[in-house]
Symmetry: C2
Subunit: 226 residues, 2 copies
DNA sequence: CCAAAAGTGTTCCGTCTACACCCATGG
DNA sequence: CCATGGGTGTAGACGGAACACTTTTGG
């Protein structure tokens, strides 16, 4: 390794994952108790350090994989946090990533293994260091984008009912939506396909199952809800 | 210094500034020739390393101050770039910041001193490392936000005409705007104040000068153009 | 007197919003 | 047979888009 920048200082670089899930009609986040010093035992996001042989994005995906066993998950950089004393131990720069997962894909064994749990947004405890701020930014970002990018489908199974989809929007935006207006808009979006399948779990009558056709979306990626 | 994270690797952490200015009815960016190895002589954004005693945000402001002599400038984090080999020399994580300045505030001596110049957006050369990508993200971000946040005023003098303001929007959004509709909207925004002053520089008839009342905006910060 | 930029309203159309009832089924 | 969630249409309000001419004055 050469030493071009030898007279400058280095810092630890970490990633922290803000993992959103949708469960029981609520938006939830994965939280755990910090298992290392400093701050051991405090509520915290799940994170890890960036290794020399991986990009920051790759580190985020690796850390999420360690936590959930899931790959190819929607992840987006939220912001980088770099206050001098944000970590009580040493100088650590941390890059916050937002992930959207389908709770049903999550192996509950891993959840216990890592000592993390789903916490309802709005019932968030005080978190380690600047993690509350990270969450806040991620939520703001999610709210901003969910009406102009097809993010909601990441929080749902492949097949979902329109009621489920509506509940995701209501949970993220924190407001009620008129059912008829919502369905009217969805019908105009041709990459949200109605299938022949019927969900009989949540209603006696049965509800049509829909699917997000990613291929079709990719051909003409535009999305506007509302 | 303690050594909590001793077994992990550190990296250099840098900031790069994407400095936007509005001049001659064009959106421009500050660019220079890189003055250090590796990549000496290549077109590049202006950047610097984060010091141990400053936050990442502070580093960005310091670097911008070195470059422009200006303080209290609008700056916003764009994204963090962390590919393994993004810097040919060593492992460097770089946090890109977008700055909006009023070109008239810029001391042209400093411009020469630092060997930087204003380059029109769209006439951007190939830049060092991933700097083109940084610029692209910054532009996307600026376009997204300029219609919902009062950013345009940062690119103008304290007093400006409505024509100038419109030209900023046209330059950023890359599309023409109807003058009557534009002015109608502006009139509804009460923190854009008409002054008694008249600008006689750009027109024989003279144009009313307006001012952004930041105090008034802060009391009720909401902004929607279009 | 004319070139050059400033300033000013109205109409139309499409989009969003509000709103209430019937349907199918399992228990 | 009834409780539960699924599914459907219309009318009125509102906001955005299109569009052309008059004013002022320095040179």
């Amino acid at each position: 390794m050469t030493t071009y920048y030898g007279d400058h200082n280095k810092a630890f670089v970490a990633v922290d994952c803000i993992v959103f899930g949708f469960d029981n009609n609520k938006l939830k986040l994965l939280m755990g108790r910090r298992k290392m010093d400093p701050g051991r035992g405090e509520w915290s996001l799940y994170g890890g350090f960036v290794n020399p042989d991986e990009s920051v994005d790759e580190a985020a995906h690796r850390v999420l994989f360690e936590l959930t066993g899931l790959k190819h998950i929607y992840m987006k950089q939220v912001a980088t946090f770099g206050a001098v004393d944000r970590d009580p131990g040493e100088r650590v720069i941390s890059i916050a990533y937002c992930a959207l997962i389908n709770v049903k894909d999550y192996d509950n064994k891993l959840l216990k293994e890592h000592g993390v749990e789903w916490v309802e947004l709005g019932k968030m405890p005080k978190l380690y260091s600047d993690h509350n701020e990270m969450v806040k930014k991620a939520v703001t970002m999610l709210r901003r984008r969910i009406s102009s990018e097809p993010l909601s489908f990441n929080l749902l199974p492949d097949l979902f009912t329109l009621t489920q989809l509506q509940l995701v929007y209501e949970a993220v935006l924190g407001e009620e939506i008129d059912k008829r207006n919502f369905r009217k808009r969805i019908k105009q979006i041709d990459f949200i396909e109605k299938t022949e399948l019927i969900d009989k779990v949540t209603s006696k009558r049965g509800a049509a199952l829909y699917r997000f056709n990613k291929r079709m979306y990719m051909e003409e990626p535009s999305f506007k809800l509302k």
